[in-house]
């Protein structure tokens, strides 16, 4: 469903993606992790071309992203994206945030879009917030609305770029619960996250990145119990016992 073949990307002289080869099959949940600056955010952003690739081939749901003639808006409508900073529209109510794209792009009626939006809001546990504005919601609630907004386009793939990194610890759980529910429903997902509990429980596969290279790709159980690469071992050590790693 998502196929990276020899993908490269540079920011000026910085080689952010170096020969990426990845394959995500329908219904699969891929978790991408790695230290900051490793290129994992850039990687996930290439999938709906928020970042264009410089070299190689990337095919997403049948759309060839290395082909300039591909209608990128069409692809983006099929791929939901959830941001670290939520990026809800502050001038629109929760319900309008969710119905905007479906009414403008899918051309469904406002009434129908609102009915579907209410189903999604119920699913993320926020049906009573339909008329609130984003600034009246907590971070966790905003992120759940952002997930509902992405789902409203009935995407075939969902991308999550560090969805819980900007949240207070007590709100992380509610967002992960929604994501887990989504994964169990069979959604194809790529998730950049540091939530190793989530990766362990939900992911089918974990990709570990460092310096723009996918160093390791494994079943979560294997990755966590028997990491192969030295960088991966170091990363996991730091993640599990951050204090000790800093003060040896």
């Amino acid at each position: 469903m998502i196929v990276f073949k020899g993908v490269h990307k540079w920011f000026k002289t910085l080689h952010v993606l170096n020969d990426i080869n990845l394959h995500v099959t329908p219904g699969e949940v891929l978790v991408v992790c790695g230290p900051s600056g490793s290129g994992k955010s850039t990687l996930i952003r290439t999938i709906n071309q928020l970042e264009p690739i410089n070299e190689g081939s990337l095919i997403v749901d049948g759309y060839d992203l290395s082909d300039k003639k591909t209608d990128i808006n069409k692809l983006r409508a099929e791929v939901g994206f959830v941001f670290q900073q939520f990026n809800l529209y502050p001038h629109l109510s929760v319900i309008s945030n969710i119905t905007l794209a479906p009414t403008k792009i899918r051309n469904i009626s406002k009434k129908e879009a609102e009915e579907q939006a209410m189903v999604l809001l119920t699913r993320v546990g926020l049906s009573e917030k339909r008329d609130a504005y984003p600034s009246q919601l907590s971070g966790g609630q905003q992120q759940r609305v952002a997930i509902a907004r992405a789902l409203a386009m009935k995407p075939r793939i969902m991308l999550f770029d560090e969805p819980t990194s900007a949240l207070d610890p007590e709100m992380i759980g509610e967002v992960l619960a929604v994501m887990k529910d989504l994964a169990l429903s069979g959604m194809t997902m790529v998730v950049v996250t540091h939530e190793m509990g989530f990766a362990r429980e939900v992911a089918h596969r974990v990709a570990f990145m460092a310096d723009g290279i996918v160093l390791e790709e494994a079943h979560p159980e294997d990755f966590f119990m028997r990491p192969q690469h030295e960088r991966a071992k170091q990363f996991l050590r730091q993640l599990l016992t951050p204090m000790q790693a800093e003060c040896p």
Partner: protein, 232 residues
């Protein structure tokens, strides 16, 4: 006559100060000042939006001529633009009322400034908003229409009002081509009565101040009325 502040020169000519010869003749005084300012403001709003959007176009062939035009206009005194329109427009298009040549000049001039306000307003919207919108498949026009402009316009309100207040004051330059707005009316009365320049020009100064202050207050009220703003 020997009063310290002769109020009668104001009271006797009050209607003339306010509306000129209207309704028996053309509108003048404060009425015409407001008419010129409001019409030019509305036109420059669209003109500024138009120029602003063109000046950040993806296409260099649109962008550079627009930027050149904006900079050209911004590099000229308004008085000269008023003369230009006054002499040039009738030469090109036949008879055009003085009022309209002034409106054209004010619109052209203010549009150039408004366009920079529009650009600043658009560029002030966080990148995440754009990314969120395009990631749901919205086209760049839909992004502009539903996400960027609604938020940007709200941010632009204070600058727009500033520009409008400048516009009210700028209408006084129309006096030079014989358009009977407030300043022109004041000089007429001054020339007729000869003896009360202090009274007359203090009076119109107060009028200009009241107009400008009223619109500044209006903008504050407008900003507060947009409810979602308060919560940010």
């Amino acid at each position: 006559m020997d009063q310290f502040f002769n109020i009668s020169v104001i009271t006797d000519n009050f209607t003339y100060f306010m509306i000129g010869r209207f309704p028996h003749g053309p509108l003048g005084g404060v009425g015409l000042t407001l008419y010129l300012a409001v019409v030019s403001c509305i036109l420059s709003f669209f003109g500024g939006m138009f120029l602003g959007l063109l000046s950040i176009s993806r296409f260099a062939i649109v962008r550079y001529p627009t930027l050149g035009f904006i900079n050209l206009v911004r590099g000229m005194p308004l008085l000269m633009v008023i003369f230009w329109m006054y002499f040039l427009m009738p030469a090109l298009f036949g008879k055009i009322a003085e009022n309209n040549t002034v409106i054209m000049a004010l619109t052209l001039f203010t549009s150039a400034y408004m366009s920079r306000i529009v650009v600043a307003g658009i560029e002030g919207i966080p990148k995440g908003q754009t990314e969120a919108a395009i990631s749901t498949g919205l086209t760049s026009w839909q992004l502009m229409l539903y996400i960027v402009l609604p938020q940007g316009l709200r941010n632009m309100i204070p600058s727009f009002v500033n520009q409008f207040v400048s516009l009210i004051k700028d209408t006084s330059l129309a006096f030079i081509v014989g358009v009977s707005e407030l300043t022109h009316v004041a000089t007429q009365i001054n020339n007729r009565t000869m003896a009360f320049p202090t009274e007359i020009f203090i009076f119109i100064a107060v009028i200009y101040f009241i107009l400008c202050y009223a619109f500044t207050s209006l903008s504050r009220w407008l900003e507060q009325r947009l409810t979602w703003v308060k919560a940010i």
